[in-house]
Amino acid sequence: MSLSANDVNKIAHLARLGIENEDIGSYAQDLSGLLALMAQMEALDTTGTKPMAHPLDQCQRLRPDVVTEQNQRDHFQAIAPQTQDGLYLVPKVIE
């Protein structure tokens, strides 16, 4: 399976990832090469094999439903690009 420039643009949009126009061709080529590599897996019969999501067979741990985090808003917002009154600022979304 090989990807077109149009496919690359669609994927980049899904990832909200800006890519330079002049790079689209090389991404299409690299990704197509990778897909060809990945197609090697098709030769292996995996019928009845349980997908392995995680190397250790462990369950998600539970803990008592109590607050453990302290409020560190000011500390964390000190490194934000733009804040006001404890809120993160982004360009206007609603007119």
Binding site: P51, A78, P91
Partner: protein, 483 residues
């Protein structure tokens, strides 16, 4: 001082041969002397000297641990409170971490003196350190060669003695491969053995932190300080931590070494085969026997890995949105433009390639064909290892197909670079522990031996590595230009 092991340095500090402040200044001077290696992204000299003063007080009071006062450095993927934590990306060039990774906290508690933060491939995506926003680190054995990656700066710092030891992370070989290419000892522990809290995530089901040092014994001391359950990491293993030094000297009589026939088939470089045969002959002398094992699905490790790692990367890196921290583009027109340009301007090409790959593999209509299929292949690979490790005690293999390659040599073809990870990647898919030790030289460049063990058998791996290092001197070789 800079050529000594951790035990030797600890002895020197306790017996008053030198103070931690003197030792720290000595390493800081060496870092300044060799800027061409580009091992460090950030040097924290003032903080290091302050930590060294504190260490000297502890040593004088007799309350010091083995690691107290010994200068080290962290891969720049570990969050260090108040210190730039860049992950070698423009995205985090302005990021001052607001908290410490658990690994950083644990080593601080053990008295470590941090010299700074080490170079790496951007977001740990790469096998050569060339994808770093700050430029490639250089291999001290030949500065025209790559040091390997992604923990390239860590391997360079240890090999060129710009730190007594370093931390690294390993998602597909990122501790073992640079350790092999730079001639040092590096351990990727069992998945979950060391906390991932505060370690910037690339592929969460594969990422694992580990120590990089001059010897197996040093590595054991470091693992002791780094390992353990952490409630702040939901995938941390709630298993007791062994005493990694207790049995490190056990004789290897009766050890059964598995040699995967798929790794020794055609394609293995003749020089690398010779290095391996010599190492295995040494193990036979130490009382070990060898046995061929077969792992038929290993050949699919690279395709399965690049589906899984890319998929997890695309999800993990969605947090970098230009809103809460990190890089933000100038004059965004609207919110979408803010996301698209912030990410587009701040991620490098390899990171973008993997985000695109992962986004595609997870997108509607392709999920089953790629991601689900890769997870099934992952199980079969993992079962291959389980079967082999039920027959033998450890598995040995090369770490890399060749010694260090030239800077720029493999950049044009990303797939060629990926294929070079053939010997390391499957271990991450299975989540097993493995280490790399120096086992010889090829044309003046170090070559490594990989030792793979069963889950949570790090003590056994370190024992197997240590005994070899007692009768061979490869791990004591140092690059001439930096001694």
């Amino acid at each position: 001082m800079h050529t000594q092991t951790i035990s030797q340095l600890a002895h020197g500090l306790r017996s008053g041969q030198f103070s931690s402040v003197e030792l720290t200044q000595h390493f800081l001077d060496r870092i300044k002397r060799y800027p061409e290696l580009n091992a460090y992204i950030t040097v924290t000299d003032q903080q290091a000297l302050q930590a060294a003063q504190q260490a000297d007080i502890k040593i004088a009071a007799g309350t010091a641990d083995l690691l107290t006062g010994i200068p080290m450095a962290h891969k720049d993927i570990f969050c260090t409170q108040g210190v730039k934590t860049s992950c070698a990306s423009k995205m985090l060039d302005n990021f001052i971490a607001p908290y410490n990774a658990t690994v950083v906290d644990k080593l601080n508690q053990a008295g470590a003196v941090m010299l700074g933060k080490l170079n790496m491939d951007e977001f740990a995506m790469g096998s050569s350190n060339e994808t770093s926003f700050y430029g490639a680190a250089k291999n001290p054995w030949d500065t025209s060669k790559v040091p390997g990656g992604s923990s390239g700066g860590s391997a360079v710092a240890v090999a060129a003695q710009l730190a007594a030891y370093a931390t690294g992370t390993d998602t597909g070989g990122s501790i073992r491969q640079p350790s092999a290419l730079c001639g040092i000892t590096g351990l990727k522990p069992t998945y979950g053995r060391i906390s991932r809290y505060g370690m910037i995530a690339y592929a969460s089901s594969l990422d694992q932190a580990g120590p990089m040092a001059r010897s197996a014994e040093d590595t054991a001391i470091l693992l002791q300080a780094m390992a353990g359950f952490d409630p702040k990491d939901s995938t941390s293993a709630d298993e007791p931590v062994a005493d990694y030094l207790a049995d490190i000297n056990q004789p290897l009589q009766g050890l059964t070494i598995g040699l995967p026939k798929e790794f020794f088939a055609e394609g293995l470089n003749a020089d690398m085969a010779t290095v391996l045969e010599t190492a295995i002959a040494e193990y036979r002398k130490l009382g070990a026997t060898t046995q061929e094992v077969s792992m038929p699905n290993l050949k699919l490790a690279i395709p399965a890995y690049y589906v899984i790692a890319s998929a997890e990367c695309s999800a993990n890196l969605s947090r970098f949105d230009g809103v809460r921290f990190g890089y933000r583009c100038q004059h965004p027109q609207d919110l979408t433009d803010l996301y698209v340009r912030s990410r587009g301007e701040a991620f490098g090409k390899e990171v973008k390639r993997r985000i695109l790959m992962g986004t595609y593999a997870l997108s509607a209509g392709y999920y089953d064909a790629y991601y689900l299929k890769a997870q099934k292949v992952r199980r079969l690979i993992s079962e291959d290892f389980s079967k082999a490790l039920s027959e033998v005690d450890v598995i040995m293999s090369p770490v890399t197909p060749t010694p260090a390659f030239g800077i720029g040599e493999k950049l044009a073809d990303p797939i060629e670079m990926y294929l070079a990870d053939i010997y390391t990647i499957a271990i991450n898919l299975a989540g097993l522990p493995a280490l790399s030790i120096p086992a010889g030289f090829i044309n003046g460049l170090p070559a490594g031996l990989q030792i793979i063990g069963n889950y949570f058998q790090e003590a056994r791996l370190l024992n197997v590595a240590h005994r070899y290092q007692q009768t061979t001197g490869w791990h004591q070789q140092l690059p001439e230009d930096f001694t």
